[in-house]
Symmetry: none
Subunit: 370 residues, 2 copies
Amino acid sequence: MTSRHDASARPLPLNQILAGDCIEVMNALPEASVDLIFADPPYNLQLRGDLHRPDNSRVDAVDDHWDQFSSFAAYDQFTREWLAAARRLLKPNGALWVIGSYHNIFRVGAELQNQGFWILNDVVWRKSNPMPNFRGKRLTNAHETLIWCSKSEASKYTFNYEALKSLNEGIQMRSDWVLPICNGGERLKDEHGDKAHPTQKPEALLHRVLIGTTNPGDVVLDPFFGTGTTGAVAKMLGRDFIGIEREDGYRDAASKRMARIRRLHAEALATSTGKRAEPRVPFGQVVERGMLRPGEELYSTGNRHKARVRADGSLTGGQIKGSIHQVGARLEGAPSCNGWTYWHFKREGKMIPIDALRQQIRDEMDERPN
Amino acid sequence: MTSRHDASARPLPLNQILAGDCIEVMNALPEASVDLIFADPPYNLQLRGDLHRPDNSRVDAVDDHWDQFSSFAAYDQFTREWLAAARRLLKPNGALWVIGSYHNIFRVGAELQNQGFWILNDVVWRKSNPMPNFRGKRLTNAHETLIWCSKSEASKYTFNYEALKSLNEGIQMRSDWVLPICNGGERLKDEHGDKAHPTQKPEALLHRVLIGTTNPGDVVLDPFFGTGTTGAVAKMLGRDFIGIEREDGYRDAASKRMARIRRLHAEALATSTGKRAEPRVPFGQVVERGMLRPGEELYSTGNRHKARVRADGSLTGGQIKGSIHQVGARLEGAPSCNGWTYWHFKREGKMIPIDALRQQIRDEMDERPN
DNA sequence: CATGACCATGAATCCTGAT
DNA sequence: AATCAGGATTCATGGTCAT
């Protein structure tokens, strides 16, 4: 007798919404199989008159300290269990996002540190249109907090720096994101016209998360799928998703929603990349191809230093010999140096950075792969 | 033989900087005697090697011995102990603020909930000029988190709703505050011209905290006093402070700062408002429009001085006559003074800075340009 | 005296693949 | 597993100094 989601027998159930308790369902999926988890766990703490423990038992009152402690303890246990299940599912280089408010986020953050997740950033979703504090007894609660963490300190996590920089008009993306709450046409309604889910997240939030920390084709899992914002944006952006949701009503609403979503074309999915994505070119190739000749002189930025090209692609500058980077660093007394932008050659009286030669080689590689 | 800070024998040591470990010192003070605690504990940063900017300059990191902890467990124990000592000191209606980053704030937040503190808001300090992420490997860490909590759920905490609303141009104050980091003239320097403290907080941050959650005459304690921003702003605003600091160097710098507090007061107010880009509004317009009537009395920050409005938009305070800025500067013995934030008028028993009136005028200008 | 160029610096868990 | 080396990477602000 095998369980419904037997880990050994079944392939990953991609682009489906799985029914059931997320801890059980996650434990039945194969380990180390997911690239990213986005989790919007219940915040159900200290909510006047309608307080439930994660096991759905009702908390009578929180008037005294012992009751508070018992409800924190129950929430902590729930947090421990779903985080451990999530951790097991993640690939070694996988990452996790959690969103929460001051009611629960500190407990979640402490527990994920305890389990060995490595926090990369905490991100503030600054709501441009929050609900005011009607009674004027506190500050307007105008933000929620997200935590972005990798599975471990050693994880080589995905971060699309240039893509996020583009989203932010050319300036590197900050840890505070100003986005409106989900309403208008995006907000799912039930048959009575009421909101289908009390805390539906805006697609813009997930868009930024998925563009920034996944690649097309990655597997994104959401253990608290709700009405499926994570799945909707994942599908749109060409990522595969796995949703887990316990409530029938939310699953139904999410299924209908997914059916309406159209995947974006590949060109639309392409995002900005930086030099890091370019193939590496050894300086020796520049010499081999005769773009610079052995013995030719190079000039530093600012023209303070000179060096001479050698046949093996190294430089000599006085007593100093080594790579274009090493010689530049030594001459500048700097911890490191990018020789490609530091050194220049002279053509028709003009100083040209040797990086232009590297670019020429890369352009040829694009025209004739292999 | 009594200890240095014997709880039973001594009165509260107001407006002093106490030397020693904050846990021991707090435990020697009388219980239930403090209105507000503002705490800026070590963040437990876990930095690896050096970090260089793209121009190869080295980042001066926070590598001080006081921020070194051997493990999360060690940091948690430290947090438990100082929070318990702080809790004992607070009056039943007292409140606590803590500031931190993602390195420590989740652990601190969870522990204060465990101890029975009642979270009122988490507040995000959004830095207008954070240090960028030089390697492009994460989001710019552009904010820090504060937690505001009362001693217990039953506490009748202080919240000056209208004062904060005025500070915020007549709109309810939100849980995200945009403020620049502390630099320029406000940043304390040592004899070599280096920063006196690696993490000095801006006075504007404490200004907002103290205006919003204390009343004049309240006792404000800071167990991690550092170079004394909390004390400086408390003194400026007519609150009593108690500072505790372990490091001799920081205590010395803080003592000198407290002694010169009037001068820094005027400078800080002049520079921390950040309103230079706003259209200039002459004080006379406030009078012309009948927002303040000639003959009406204004009260200084801290309520130490009074002055009377004249029909031409000048003030008289005793023998001194002149603009709101000139009279404030003369009364404080300061080289300059921002009269807009220094002077307050009384409405329904509440002190409101006249800056609120200027903002009202600016709002109208925004609605109806020209 | 303005203006602009240039420089310094801030609570930071800040690289990656080949050998 | 540890070492080595290529080479990619920054925004806002305030102060100094030359023009």
